[in-house]
C-alpha cells in the first residue's frame, strides 16, 4: 500500500515535492486509531448520527448514506431513469425528465445544496444541479423524492449551481461552458473575440412551497464559471463565483486556459440585481425552458415557459466586481462568519483568501480598480486580500469550515486534505486522501453553524483500496473525525457514481419528519381507486383504463382481457396504509416500461400495449408478505 501511493506521488514529478515541506506522503500516515472501528460502529438497530446526501456524478442521482457507519440507505432518482421504481418510465414521472431538447433521461449531477433558514440547515429540501442539460432539481426531505425540475435557459453546463442564499431566497446557477447567447451557429473562433457569453441565473425558491422560478439572468463575460457559494451574515447580499479561462481560449484549454497568473472570483450582489430588475433595468430576453412539477401523489405536470428578464452588468452599477484570484480558481467558499472568501486556485501554490469587509471598503474606489471588463470593475488582488495560505498543497480545490476557526481544503494533485487556521493562514495538519480528492464536506460546513464533527472527502480514484472489480473501480468517500484538535481518519467507503459534493445534516433535523405513507383519503390522483369495490376496467375505443388495487396479497381486477393493438393503462393504487409496505407491478416482456414501486396510498400508472396474442403474467415485484409469490395474475390478449 505504502509503495503504490509513493509511486503515484513520484509520477507527479519530484520537483513538486518542494511544495510540501511538512507533508508526509500518502498512506504512510494512514495509521488508523485503534478505536476508529468502534467510532464508526453503529450497533444493529441503532441509528446513525448524520444523514449524508451525496451527488451521483455521472449517474445523475443522489444517494443517502448514514454517517458514521457509511451505510448506503437509498438512491433518490433525480435526473436519470430508475428501473427500481419506474422513475422516468411511468406515466406519473416520465414528464419529470422533459426538457426543451425532449426527453433527457440522464444527467451529470455535481452539487447538492441544503435548504437553509437564517443560514442554518432546515431539513426541508435538497437541491441538485444537472450539468449536462442545464437543470436544477428540488428533492423533498419529507418523502425523499424529487418534486420539481427546472430547466435553465441561455446557459451551457450548469456547473456553478445550485448554491443557495442564506435564507434560500434564491439558488444561483451559472454557466460552465460559455456559448453564444442566444444560441447561434457562429465560428468557434469568435469565442476569443467575445462572441460567447455566460449567464448567472437567479432561481427564486418559494418560501412555503419550495416552487422554483427564474427571477432574472445576468449576462456576463464569456469565461467558464465553475463554482459558487453565497455569503452569510454580513455578506448575505452577495454570492461568489469562481471562473477560469478568462483567457477565452477555445482550443487546447489545458494550455490556453492556464496562461494567466490570475483568473477571477466574481462577486455578485444579488440584492442589488433584484433592485435593478425592480427599477426596470432588465430587458426581455428569449430562452425556452421547461418546468416539471410533481405534486404529491399526482402525475408530474410539465410546463413550457419562454423568456427571461435579462440584465447587463453595465446597466446595474454596484452589482458585480471581479476579484483576481490565482490561478484558475475552482472552489469559492465563504466561511461561517461570512467574512472570508476562500479561492481554490487549482494550479496555484497558495490558497488565496479574500476579505469581504475589504472588498466592501474598496469596491467603489477607482484607485483599487485595475481595469473593467464589460462593465464589471476588476479590483486589485492586494486590495481585497485577507491573506494567503503559503505552500499548502498541490491543486487546492474546495474548502469547508468547522465553525471553530479552522478551514479544511481538499487538494487534488497531492491527494490530501489540509487543515489550516483562518486569520493566521497556518497549515496545522495534512490528511492523506486515497486518492485525488475533489470536494469535501463537513456536517453543516457550508452553513453559518457547522455541526462540525465529521468531514468526508470525496475521492475520484480508489486503486488498491478495495477488492478489484474489473477496470472501473468505485469512487470513494473518506470519513474523518474532526471533533478534536487533530482530525483522524475513521473509515472509507465506496460510493454510487462519482460523488462530487455532499450535504450532511444531523439526523435529528430530518428523521422524525419523514412521511410514512400517503393517506388514502388524501389521494387526489385522477386515476386513484380507493377501495376494492371501485376496482374496474373502463374501455374507451382502443384504450383501456384499468383501475386496479393492490393489497396483501392480491390485485383487483385480477384477470384482464384485451385485444391486440389495444393500449392498456394499469392505474395501480396501493391500498395499504402501513409503513414500509410498497407493492410492485411488472408485466412479463413489457417493452418501454420496467417496474412500478407503489408506496402505501399511492397511485401509479403502467402503460402497456397488447402487441401479440397470448397470456401475459403480471405480478408484484416487492416481497410484500408471506403470500407475495401468489400476488400474480394474467392478461389475456386475443386477436
Amino acid at each position: 500500500m505504502l509503495k503504490k501511493s509513493n509511486i503515484i506521488v513520484v509520477t507527479l514529478g519530484i520537483a513538486l515535492f518542494a511544495f510540501l515541506p511538512n507533508c508526509k506522503k500518502g498512506a504512510a500516515t494512514a495509521t488508523l486509531a485503534s478505536d476508529a472501528a468502534s467510532r464508526v460502529y453503529v450497533a444493529p438497530g441503532e441509528k446513525d448520527e448524520v444523514y449524508a446526501f451525496l451527488s451521483g456524478g455521472f449517474s445523475g442521482q443522489m444517494s443517502v448514506y448514514g454517517i458514521p457507519s457509511a451505510r448506503l440507505f437509498k438512491i433518490i432518482p433525480v435526473f436519470s431513469v430508475f428501473p427500481e421504481n419506474g422513475y422516468g418510465f411511468d406515466e406519473e414521472t416520465k414528464d419529470m425528465l422533459k426538457t426543451t431538447h425532449g426527453y433527457v433521461p440522464w444527467d451529470d449531477s455535481h452539487h447538492v445544496e441544503a435548504s437553509m433558514t437564517d443560514g442554518k440547515q432546515d431539513g426541508r429540501w435538497m437541491f441538485l444541479n444537472a450539468n449536462n442539460t442545464p437543470r436544477l432539481a428540488r428533492i423533498d426531505l419529507k418523502s425523499f423524492e424529487t418534486k420539481e425540475i427546472l430547466e435553465i435557459p441561455n446557459t451551457a453546463g450548469n456547473h456553478a449551481s445550485p448554491f443557495a442564499t442564506e435564507n434560500t431566497e434564491y439558488l444561483m446557477a451559472a454557466t460552465r461552458f460559455s456559448v453564444p447567447v442566444p444560441q447561434s451557429n457562429v465560428s468557434i473562433d469568435s469565442f476569443s473575440k467575445g462572441g460567447f457569453k455566460g449567464t448567472v441565473t437567479m432561481v427564486k425558491v418559494d418560501k412555503n412551497t419550495g416552487r422554483l422560478s427564474i427571477e432574472l439572468q445576468v449576462l456576463v463575460p464569456g469565461f467558464d464559471y465553475d463554482l459558487s457559494h453565497c455569503g452569510k451574515k454580513k455578506s448575505h447580499d452577495w454570492c461568489f463565483f469562481s471562473s477560469y479561462n478568462s483567457e477565452q481560449a477555445h482550443k487546447m484549454l489545458e494550455v490556453g486556459a492556464s496562461k494567466k497568473d490570475k483568473d477571477f472570483i466574481l462577486a455578485f450582489n444579488w440584492v442589488r440585481a433584484k433592485e435593478c430588475k425592480d427599477q426596470g433595468k432588465t430587458y426581455n430576453f428569449g430562452g425556452e425552458y421547461v418546468n416539471n412539477f410533481k405534486e404529491e401523489n399526482k402525475p408530474a405536470v410539465s410546463t413550457k415557459l419562454s423568456g427571461v428578464k435579462m440584465l447587463n452588468p453595465k446597466d446595474c452599477p454596484g452589482m458585480m466586481y471581479y476579484m483576481p484570484t490565482p490561478k484558475s480558481p475552482h472552489g469559492t467558499d465563504v466561511d461561517s462568519t461570512g467574512e472570508y472568501i476562500v479561492g481554490g486556485g487549482k494550479l496555484a501554490s497558495v490558497i488565496p483568501v479574500h476579505s469581504f469587509s475589504k472588498m466592501i471598503e474598496v469596491k467603489d474606489k477607482k484607485e483599487h480598480h485595475s481595469t473593467e471588463i464589460e462593465g464589471i470593475p476588476v479590483l486589485k488582488y492586494e486590495s481585497t486580500l485577507a491573506g494567503e495560505v503559503q505552500k499548502p498543497c498541490l491543486g487546492p480545490l474546495h474548502t469547508e469550515f468547522d465553525g471553530q476557526g479552522y478551514a479544511y481544503t481538499s487538494c487534488f494533485v497531492s491527494s490530501e486534505v489540509v487543515k489550516w487556521k483562518l486569520g493566521t493562514w497556518e497549515v496545522v495538519q495534512h490528511l492523506p486522501a486515497y486518492y485525488s480528492v475533489g470536494h469535501l464536506s463537513i456536517v453543516g460546513g457550508s452553513s453559518t453553524e457547522p455541526y462540525g464533527k465529521y468531514l468526508i472527502a470525496m475521492n475520484k480514484i480508489t486503486k488498491d483500496r478495495y477488492l478489484p472489480v474489473g477496470m472501473e473501480l468505485p469512487q470513494s468517500a473518506q470519513l474523518y473525525d474532526i471533533s478534536s484538535g487533530k482530525a483522524e481518519l475513521l473509515s472509507d467507503f465506496p460510493t454510487v457514481g462519482e460523488p462530487h459534493y455532499s450535504q450532511m445534516i444531523p439526523a435529528k433535523l430530518i428523521m422524525d419528519k419523514t412521511a410514512k405513507l400517503f393517506p388514502l383519503e388524501e389521494n387526489k390522483h385522477p386515476y386513484a381507486t380507493k377501495s376494492e369495490n371501485d376496482a374496474r376496467i373502463v374501455k374507451l375505443g382502443n384504450t383501456t383504463h384499468i383501475y386496479m388495487t393492490a393489497i396483501r396479497s392480491h390485485f383487483k381486477p385480477d384477470i384482464i382481457e384485451a385485444r391486440t393493438g389495444e393500449t392498456l393503462y394499469f392505474h395501480v393504487t396501493n391500498l395499504e396504509q402501513d409503513y414500509d409496505i410498497p407493492h410492485g407491478f411488472a408485466i412479463g416482456g413489457a417493452p418501454n416500461m420496467t417496474n412500478l414501486l407503489i408506496m402505501p396510498g399511492e397511485t401509479r400508472t403502467f402503460k402497456w400495449v397488447a402487441l401479440k396474442p397470448g397470456i401475459y403474467p403480471f405480478y408484484c415485484t416487492d416481497f410484500c408478505s408471506a403470500l407475495h409469490q401468489e400476488m400474480q395474475q394474467y392478461i389475456r390478449v386475443s386477436p
Binding site: 405513507l517 393489497i551 396479497s553 395499504e576 396504509q577 402501513d578 409503513y579 408478505s625 408471506a626 403470500l627
Partner: protein
C-alpha cells in the same frame, strides 16, 4: 343491615358519589380496554382500543393493518358495526351516571350498594361478553383461509399476554376501564366508611 341501607350518606360521601358520576362521564371520551400486538415485523407495535361505542386502532391505520394480518388466518374483519353491544353500551353507562345523580337526591347508603351491584354486573357481563367476542373471532375462521394450522385458535387473552404464532397479543384495561374499576373501589369505600360511621354513632 336495614338501618345501614337507609342511612343517609355523609356530606363527604355524597360529594364522592357526585365525583363518581362525573368521573364516569369521562368514560365516553376515552377507551375502556386496549389490545396491543407486537411481532418481529411490527417493532413499533399495533394497537386496538375498545371504547364505549366503538373499536379503533391505536393509530389511524392500526385497525386496518390488524385486519390485514388477520385475513391470512381467516379471521372476520373487526369493525365497530359487527359488535352490537357497542350500540347499547353508552346507555348502560348513562344508567350508571344517572344512578349517581339520583343518589344525590336520595342520598342513602342503599343507593351506593345498588351502584356497586350495578357496576359488578356490568363488569362481569361486560367481561363475559368480551371473552365471548374474542372467542368467536378467534375460533370462527374462514375454512378457505390461506394459513390454516391444525388445532390453532387465535383468541386473544382476556387479561394479560399470549403468544399466537409470531404475534404477542396483550390485553389490558385502558383508562376508561380503570375509571370503572376505581368507581367500584370508591363506592365500596363509601359503604365501608358509612358502616364504620354507623358503628361509631352506636358507640
Amino acid at each position: 343491615m336495614k338501618d345501614l341501607l337507609f342511612q343517609t350518606l355523609s356530606k363527604k360521601n355524597r360529594l364522592l358519589i357526585l365525583g363518581v358520576g362525573l368521573f364516569l362521564v369521562l368514560v365516553y371520551f376515552i377507551p375502556i380496554w386496549a389490545i396491543s400486538i407486537s411481532a418481529p415485523q411490527y417493532p413499533e407495535g399495533l394497537g386496538m382500543q375498545i371504547w364505549i361505542n366503538q373499536i379503533t386502532g391505536a393509530t389511524p391505520y392500526d385497525l386496518k393493518n390488524i385486519n390485514l394480518l388477520n385475513h391470512y388466518i381467516g379471521m372476520k374483519e373487526i369493525i365497530s358495526e359487527s359488535i352490537p353491544e357497542l350500540l347499547f353500551m353508552p346507555y348502560v353507562l348513562a344508567y350508571l351516571i344517572i344512578g349517581a345523580f339520583i343518589t344525590e337526591l336520595v342520598p342513602k347508603v342503599g343507593m351506593a350498594i345498588l351502584g356497586i351491584i350495578n357496576l359488578v354486573i356490568v363488569g362481569l357481563v361486560g367481561l363475559f361478553d368480551f371473552w365471548r367476542w374474542e372467542y368467536n373471532y378467534g375460533h370462527n375462521l374462514n375454512p378457505d383461509a390461506p394459513i390454516i394450522i391444525e388445532g390453532m385458535a387465535y383468541q386473544p387473552p382476556l387479561l394479560g399476554c399470549k403468544v399466537m404464532l409470531n404475534i404477542t397479543a396483550c390485553s389490558y384495561p385502558s383508562y376508561g376501564g380503570m375509571i370503572l374499576a376505581s368507581s367500584l373501589v370508591l363506592l365500596v369505600y363509601i359503604v365501608w366508611d358509612e358502616k364504620r360511621r354507623k358503628k361509631s354513632n352506636v358507640v
